[in-house]
Symmetry: C2
Subunit: 132 residues, 2 copies
């Protein structure tokens, strides 16, 4: 298939070899950072086109902060940057997985991963969190 | 800390033991399904409160389809259900990781994971996809 001949249809998006990230109505795409060695999900954030371009250009994860409405280089203050090993895209190209080599804890709380709690199976109400 | 005394503040949300998922302005939360054995990200979708409740009640992943505007049991048609092993929540409780035991390929294309392509490091334009 020559995806470049008609890159706009769903088949090309799913099966083609051309990267055409689908940003949502706010101009954002979901980006999931995973440890390149363990595959563990470290954090989830959003990228706009500029954050994605800077990530590709520099080799370090950049995101768009919805709360601050600004571009941020992850780890710019803390030093805990996420070095990009690989960027994967899903079938309909509206989500990315960043395989990363983290310089330190990915979570602002100091945890290795932001996902440091899980639902307790033994909770009758189903709403109690325990250490993951 | 007794999170139940004041579960609405940011500290309780980040450090407490009460599950209080933060749905966005559309009533949705991001849910990342990962293989419970390999940690590999299989797919990303969204849940509304009903999808989350059904997931917890049945032990199988349910999502909200934004395109179809309806609740769906993942694998209802294909049989490729995602059995829940664990549900993790991130620091600010606006994203979930579902550790799952998949009954078959998670992607509608037949791929094990929706993330079956990655950016080619050797592409000068930075926009060529290869097999992940």
């Amino acid at each position: 298939m020559n995806a470049k001949a008609g890159p706009s249809n769903a088949t090309d998006r799913e099966q083609g070899d051309v990267f055409m990230p689908k940003f949502d109505s706010s101009g954002l795409i979901t980006a999931i950072a995973c440890d390149s060695t363990s595959n563990e999900v470290l954090m989830v954030a959003f990228m706009n086109a500029e954050a994605l371009a800077k990530t590709q250009a520099t080799g370090f994860a950049h995101f768009w902060s919805r709360s601050r409405q600004s571009l941020w280089l992850k780890g710019e203050t803390s030093g805990n940057k996420l070095e990009i090993a690989d960027i994967l895209v899903d079938c309909d190209q509206d989500a990315l997985v960043l395989k990363v080599n983290p310089a330190g804890p990915a979570c602002h709380t100091g945890a290795r991963s932001c996902f440091y709690r899980k639902l307790d199976h033994n909770s009758a109400q189903g709403d109690v969190l325990v250490k993951a």
